[in-house]
């Protein structure tokens, strides 16, 4: 679904603090599978995730999405791809304070100008899926960490993205909430969504939900394995 060819990313290019975050990554993200990127801090996981999610451009290399080269597309087209294809769950959730849970959820759909009734119905269904329907009008700052994450997941799904991207999704959760998150992840995978996440939480990368684990170190892929017993249809 997504193919990366010789991806390099450099920060502060040409300056004394020049830093190569990614050094020639070749990677294929399969469709309808859960791929986990793991590695120590500074290994390039988040940088790779931003390139996969069209949030940033590589310094060198090619990104192909469903066979189309999107590396040179202008920002406007990348935004459209981002809106139509990806849903993001950030490590800090990045919900907008002062807005209610349901308002946060429908926010990514505002630029599409869809009818409000339709959006609200969709958001309510998503909230019900994550057992949070009773908190729809609560301001997000009043919600617990686990509830905030579930709102963030609903927000990521409001535009029906094919690919869900999650950065360190369990970093701010305790074991119970992390397990609940894996349950949600499993349901989303069963719906046929492609999921890419970064994590160094063994609970996540060693779980049966993850199909493929890509290990990074110093901006390079050092290992790429199946995360759970491979079925005939799944590959990595």
């Amino acid at each position: 679904m997504i193919e990366l060819k010789n991806i390099r990313k450099v920060f502060n290019q040409g300056q004394h603090n020049e830093f190569w975050a990614l050094c020639g990554i070749d990677l294929a993200i399969p469709e309808q599978q859960v791929t986990a990127l793991r590695g120590p801090s500074g290994s390039g996981k988040t940088t790779l995730l931003t390139i996969l999610g069209c949030l940033a451009r590589p310094t060198e290399g090619r990104v192909r999405l469903k066979g189309e080269d999107i590396s040179g597309l202008p920002e406007r087209f990348l935004t459209e791809i981002r809106r139509q294809t990806f849903g993001f769950v950030f490590q800090q959730f990045n919900l907008i304070r002062g807005l209610s849970a349901i308002e946060n959820i429908i926010l990514p759909a505002y630029p599409l100008g869809l009818p409000r009734k339709h959006l609200l119905e969709k958001a309510e269904a998503l909230l019900a899926d994550v057992a949070l329907a009773h908190r729809r009008e609560a301001k997000v700052e009043w919600l617990s960490g686990g509830e905030q994450q579930r709102v963030a997941i609903c927000r990521a799904l409001i535009n029906d993205p094919e690919i869900l991207i999650a950065d360190e999704p369990t970093a701010n959760l305790d074991t119970k909430l992390a397990t609940e998150f894996l349950g949600i992840l499993e349901r989303l995978a069963a719906q046929g969504r492609t999921i890419i996440l970064t994590s160094h939480d063994p609970l996540v990368v060693e779980s049966s939900v993850v199909d493929c684990v890509v290990t990074l170190r110093d901006g390079r892929i050092v290992d790429q394995t199946e995360g759970r017993p491979a079925s005939a249809e799944r590959f990595c």
């Binding site: 995730l49 949030l55 406007r76 630029p111 100008g113 409000r116």
Partner: protein, 378 residues
């Protein structure tokens, strides 16, 4: 509903939520902004209404007033001049006028004494302007004495007080019988202060004025349009002076507005990053902030303008009245009939709404074009 309209409504909805989240900042900005509009609009509305009122008052005045000059000073016009003027073609009506100034040491104010020929005022009686009524506590039937320039005391009975509606022109007026006037100022019979002329064809006013100067070289014709221009320039000058005095306050507002509008907080930058990351385009963010700027500036403009309207037309502009009306001891005390023209509103809006909206958009545009990946690292 069309998606474009629905999108704009969503953006306005988000903007209102965003404004209410930063209530203290936005309310303080709105207050100061409205205050500035109030000050500017008060000055503009007041001078505009004064100009309009002066124009209306002077509309009934003679097209030409002729004065006689001796050694560069205004002098009395002998009766023979009226005869000469009557022979000039185009002159429709001639009227010798009697008026003069009187300094009242009691209230340290100057009054204008006049003897209007069209009014039938009995000897020993006067009709006074509303400012005199206030300053000297006069009412119809009261007596008042004035000491003439020769030292004689003249006593008059107030027959009537002029209505307040005429106060712009009549505040300090004392109207009296011609004989009383001549006796008070020791005017010789057949002499007048100046001559008021009506011209049959308004297009011919300038030609008549030239003929008057040729026929009476020691005379000075004053045209109504020149008086109107002088009034306009006096009000312009006072308006300018007022604005110059307020310049420091206006500058302070500009700095504050720029700082408040342009200085994006870390929270706002983060919010823009989130919106871009979840699928908003740079244009969507800019449109949203455009609505924010427009809502604040239009609300402030509306509030400030309405407050200024009330201040000027309902309360008589007590804050700026002394500067804008004049420096006389006897201030005319009148309420101006509301008069607003589109150009005044457009000018005020242009100098308040446009700069603020621009001040909001520039930094937002700079923040909105940055890559959204920064939000991943927050």
């Amino acid at each position: 509903m069309k998606p474009w309209i629905a999108k704009q409504l969503y953006l306005i909805d988000y903007t209102l939520a965003s404004l209410s989240r930063r209530k203290a900042k936005n309310l303080s900005l709105l207050f100061i902004y409205a205050l500035l509009v109030f000050v500017l609009a008060s000055v503009a509305l007041y001078t505009q209404a004064l100009r309009h009122e002066a124009q209306a008052v002077l509309a009934g005045s003679p097209e030409i007033v002729l004065q006689r000059m001796i050694a560069g000073r205004h002098d009395l016009i002998p009766a023979g001049y009226l005869e000469k003027i009557g022979r000039i073609r185009g002159v429709q009506k001639i009227e010798g006028r009697l008026w003069g100034y009187y300094y009242d040491s009691v209230v340290k104010a100057n009054y204008t004494f006049m003897a209007p020929r069209e009014m039938n005022i009995a000897r020993g009686e006067i009709i006074v302007g509303p400012a005199l009524e206030r300053s000297r506590g006069l009412a119809a039937g009261n007596g008042i004495s004035f000491r003439s320039y020769t030292g004689e005391l003249h006593t008059f009975i107030v027959a009537e007080v002029l209505p307040e509606a005429t106060e712009l022109a009549s505040a300090d007026l004392v109207l009296m019988n011609e004989a009383d006037f001549r006796a008070f100022f020791k005017y010789p019979d057949g002499h007048f202060t100046d001559v008021a002329l009506s011209v049959a064809n308004p297009q011919e006013v300038r030609n008549v004025a030239v003929k008057l100067m040729n026929a009476l070289p020691d005379s000075r014709p004053i045209l109504r349009e020149e008086v109107l221009r002088t009034y306009a320039s006096i009000f312009d000058w006072r308006e300018g002076l007022m604005l110059a005095l307020l310049a420091a306050a206006i500058l302070a507002f500009c700095i504050l507005a720029w700082d408040k509008a342009a200085g994006l907080s870390a929270e706002e930058r983060r919010e823009i990053g989130i919106l871009k990351a979840i699928g908003w385009e740079t244009g969507d963010v800019i449109q949203m902030k455009f609505w924010e700027g427009l809502l604040i500036s239009l609300s402030a403009f509306l509030l400030g303008f309405l407050a200024a309207y009330g201040h000027v037309f309902y309360f008589g502009a007590p804050l700026f009245e002394p500067v804008l009306k004049g420096w006389a001891v006897l201030y005319p005390h009148f309420s101006l009939p509301p008069h607003i023209d589109g150009l005044t509103i457009a000018t005020l809006a242009f100098f308040t709404v446009v700069p603020y909206t621009a001040a909001v958009l520039v930094p937002i545009w700079r923040a909105a074009i940055t890559d959204p990946d920064t939000v991943m690292r927050a």
